[in-house]
Assembly symmetry: C2
Homo-oligomer: 665 residues x 2
């Protein structure tokens, strides 16, 4: 058949990407050079040699791809898009300082639906510019994330985060789960969006939460997203608490019976890798983030060898700090080499597979995207090959083009991007996001966040952070304080058959409170805590504690739910801290404390009986405290504290609010 | 003084970079935001606040740097520029396979002065585009490298490589040293180029070579460049041979008395780091290359803690595969975190210092470049901050801009580059290199290299490589072969008082030679080698050896110097290899070999007495062999072999050339 005749019966298509090096990433890893790809509507209709497609297809639009790679769009298997707005806020810090000192306070203050929408647009602009066509997100207000993703024209597996702590969009996990279900319902069957549950991690959820998210995932036929074994400590703790490593525990709980995408998997052993292979757990490997947070290097070569589908992820901008899939793909090829000691580990072709078809497999969408094959959705990118940092291109091993992509290609080399058949980047310009406007809005928001820091935190927390040693102590505490008017009633309460005393100490506490003249904002407490032992010897413990003023909630009987605190061992003198923090005001409180650890109705409480020595106070005080995680739990504990107050003889009139320096100062 | 009055007495300058975030990298790490930099002639004349410089300077040209960083140009402390022409030729291979199977053969064939000039232009175009202003090179034909560097307008510390092996520009190291001295003489006092000696490494040089390069460096007042402790094996071998680790040995030899820039230093221990600090050895840290070749992760945090000046390097494109200093700087910050387990190791500001002022210190040029300070040479770059992958910018810690540069900035973000006061990049366009023409020429050369591979090597070596297990065995061998006509004379020779027999084995060797029909090109030998022990038991060793046809040199008495060979343990059957390699012709040779290891005049030789069993040959043959490294050494050994042949009773008429299948087949 001559060209004329074939051309007469040529099929009409929308777009012909013509004359590039077509890297199909199909099962045979076919490369057509030069080759073409024909797109019609949402789909790829043909992939092959230039001459073959020239004859068979007539395109409304032909894009010359000479000296360019035509390949599947990159698939980012793990990120937190809105966090691009927190990029570079605080780096090179200890993980806990970074998280509890910076990220969580800012998230509490700023993470609104608008924040999530804007941050998603910013991230999508960056990812599209760099050739990513599918992303996997875990954040809050995920419906906003979804609408912004749709606006940018990207494909997304979007997970609403569920955690046992209050989050920016839910005071309790029950709220999160309701939000998640509504979100999944709303986006059911959407052509770009898969709404999914994202239980944060084992340590930030409970078995209850995981049962619920698994039920949701099954009901809607989706995968669920979770962080697993990112740090060694997390694994150790889990092992200590449950006797099982995390992946083993997930298997035991039946969570792996339906699809799961596990982010990180830095600390998984061979047994766990077998479990992952058996249950087809998809892995999101985030090399930059794992390096930056010093989490470790994931055993990628072993996971691949055992047939686990490992995709590439960028993680969020707070820990990367960008969303450059070419960079992550490069690291996905480089790190296993040094980790195994073999330069042959994870060759370029395998890294490119991780960023495309294997990532799709990890997410369970490899039937639809991840390779250039007729019938698949048209998620296609065109990448410049002829630049001073990528040229020349050899063909000595059949694998050279993969080397070019894995070891030299950069985000800025991407020329065109199609998602679902729609062109969203042309000649390096993102068509779907008004980038200058998004950058402008990000700047304004960034300035607000900056002020929040400089004004509210810089003076105390940052300085606390600077001198190191910060540790998370209590996150949420439910507590009540009352004047003790009837010591006998208190003793009777302690002796009640439902009150079990599990511990008792006597302490002399010398507290110095630093206030900063900002009307009850941050307050820093330097405490010399002397436990008085039976033999009379005293062992002082020095701590520095930062308290914020806010209360999360109030319950009956003046029971309050208080916020996260930060505590550091104080290894320097009071004089040092005084000079260093330069407080506006100091209050000294010395007290004698009897501390009882009790168990009541199966719950642990600390009960403090305080006698204020300096400034001398007539009354004694009783404090009852317990840690808490969820709304239900807080409500239950508030109610138990009410009962205990009653048992200890305290009435509502005896209740007091605030800390000692507020009451006495 | 009001603006008017100040303006009247304003000093005239050539260029004012105005209104950016000026990251000075001076000793105080001052940042001016917004700030300006004034350039006059080759120098920076002022750095400071916008308003201050606006009043004090009137510029012929003002460049608006709003939302851009103005910073010192990046300093690449280690590369091999011409190797950009070999980018992606062969990746993900074992180090020895990569080096001996690909890089060395191609270098022998293609590395001409023209190759080095073109490759340097390509590399300079890439580096300038990515904000590098100073580079440190080690390669061959370094004068060509220098002229191309000058043409591109970059600053270079350029090292002519000296090695004990023949190199592309010198058959012997004596030639290299002469070339090096001429080169240093020619570029003495050049405003952009410092010509330096670059002894390759300890294992590729000799103490003689190092003494000479050190003398040269002292004479010309330059540093010298050398690879040190890149791999663990290299260190082990050196320790075994000399009883000292490499840095300790360098100190002992007095090499560290004058300035040295040591590339890699992956495997240096604390004692060596102390030595480096004491002698102010500069380090070129090449993170990508060390990952890709699985060399390891250098102890950067410890080196920095002990005050060693560690710069950032890209290494050459054959092991990276690009020259992206932002990428290397990012890894210089990331890898120490995972290596030490601490996310606070090598914070962003320190990584940026490594890429600028500390790199300059490592090279001994920190008085001239590396920071933005009045009086320093104007090597300045302007980098876009307001992009979707870098925005927003915070100012919460005073270090945020360093995070932006280390963790998010990309080569493509560089807008302007000045070297020595001359603008060489404007709006992302390289002004000094005709990039399209260079890419075109690189393509043509690349195609020639490609053909060389596909035609000459693909059929045998690549396939040998593919099945793995290749090892370097002999690199250069000086040898002679003769018919043995007088056994008694041979025995007498062995018994001569100057001949010391150090070993003796009896072997039965079954050799199968594969020829490939290309007129004496590659030949593959499958050998079953049975050492016959005293008790008669036989232990077969199977090897596969690739021999090239070429001889490097011939000496008197038909003594020849033969080229590198490749040997692999043959762990598969002859049948497998026959099918796999599909030779055009096979020759089988079975022989009985008596092997004597002897020492004569302080030199080790192997002497083989061969009786050919199949095809049956009347004569016996005697072979004398020894390894060699340099021209002088080869000449001396050729002469000793001549003497031995005489001792063993062989005359010139008895001499034969070629391998057994050539003689018998």
């Amino acid at each position: 058949m001559d060209t004329q005749a074939r051309s007469a019966e040529a099929r009409r298509v929308d777009v012909l990407l013509r004359g590039g090096t077509v890297v199909t990433m199909d099962a045979a890893r076919q490369v057509w050079a030069p080759g073409s790809v024909a797109i019609e509507g949402r789909q790829i209709v043909a992939v092959g040699e230039v001459s073959e497609l020239d004859g068979a297809y007539r395109a409304a639009r032909v894009i010359d791809c000479t000296d360019r790679v035509i390949m599947p769009g990159l698939i980012n298997t793990h990120t937190h898009m809105p966090m691009s707005l927190l990029r570079g806020l605080a780096d090179d810090l200890r993980l806990d300082v970074w998280l509890y000192g910076y990220i969580l306070p800012v998230e509490r203050e700023f993470v609104t639906p608008e924040f999530c929408f804007l941050g998603t647009l910013l991230s999508c602009a960056e990812m599209l510019r760099g050739g990513t066509t599918t992303l996997t997100d875990m954040y809050y207000h995920e419906e906003e994330v979804a609408w912004a993703t749709v606006e940018s024209g990207m494909r997304g597996i979007l997970g609403e985060t569920v955690a046992k702590f209050p989050t920016p969009d839910a005071r309790t996990y029950e709220e999160s789960l309701r939000y998640c279900q509504d979100f999944m319902e709303r986006f059911r069957g959407h052509h770009l969006i898969t709404a999914a549950p994202a239980p944060h991690s084992l340590y930030m959820t409970t078995p209850d939460i995981l049962r619920e998210t698994t039920r949701l995932a099954r009901t809607y036929g989706t995968t669920q997203l979770i962080h697993v074994s990112e740090t060694a400590l997390e694994v150790e703790d889990w092992l200590k608490d449950t006797g099982m490593r995390p992946m083993r525990w997930l298997e035991e709980q039946g969570i792996l019976e339906s699809p799961v995408v596990a982010a990180h998997c830095v600390h998984v052993n061979s047994e766990e890798i077998e479990i992952m292979a058996r249950h087809r757990v998809g892995v999101a490997h985030n090399p930059s983030s794992n390096l930056k947070l010093a989490s470790g290097i994931a055993p990628v070569a072993e996971m691949l060898a055992r047939g686990v589908a490992v995709g590439v992820g960028t993680d969020g901008c707070a820990s990367n700090n960008d969303l450059d899939m070419f960079e992550e793909t490069r690291l996905a090829a480089l790190l296993p080499k040094v980790a195994t000691g073999s330069p042959t580990a994870v060759p370029a072709v395998e890294a490119v597979a991780m960023a495309t078809i294997m990532g799709a497999r990890a997410l369970g969408i490899d039937k639809e995207v991840g390779s250039l094959e007729p019938g698949k959705l048209a998620d296609v990118i065109v990448v410049d090959q002829r630049t001073p940092h990528t040229w020349p291109l050899f063909d000595t091993t059949g694998l050279n083009v993969y080397s070019q992509l894995a070891y030299t290609a950069a985000a800025a080399d991407v020329r065109h991007v199609f998602v679902d058949g729609r062109q969203v980047v042309a000649d390096g310009q993102v068509l779907t996001v008004d980038t200058p406007q998004v950058l402008e809005r990000a700047q304004h928001l960034g300035q607000r966040i900056n002020r929040f820091f400089v004004e509210r935190q810089d003076s105390v927390l940052d300085k606390l952070v600077d001198i190191g040693g910060i540790e998370r102590q209590e996150t949420f505490e439910i507590q009540a304080k009352a004047v003790l008017n009837d010591r006998a009633a208190f003793e009777a309460g302690l002796a009640h058959r439902q009150v079990h005393i599990t511990g008792h100490t006597l302490r002399q506490q010398y507290d110095t409170y630093f206030d900063f003249g900002d009307a009850g904002q941050d307050r820093l407490r330097y405490r010399e805590d002397q436990v008085i032992r039976a033999d009379g010897a005293k062992e002082p413990i020095y701590t520095l504690t930062l308290t914020g003023p806010a209360r999360e909630a109030e319950f009956e009987h003046s029971v309050v739910l208080s916020r996260a605190r930060f505590t550091a061992p104080a290894d320097r003198s009071l004089r040092f801290y005084r000079e260093y923090f330069a407080p506006a005001r100091e209050v000294e409180v010395t007290k004698h404390r009897e501390r009882y650890h009790i168990r009541y109705q199966g719950v642990d409480f600390a009960v403090n009986l305080d006698r204020i020595v300096e400034p001398r106070a007539a009354q004694q005080y009783i404090e009852i405290k317990s840690r808490t995680w969820s709304e239900q739990d807080a409500a239950r504990k508030a109610s138990l504290i009410g009962e205990l107050l009653h048992l200890f003889g305290a009435t509502d009139e005896d209740m007091v609010l605030g800390e000692y320096p507020d009451m006495l100062g």
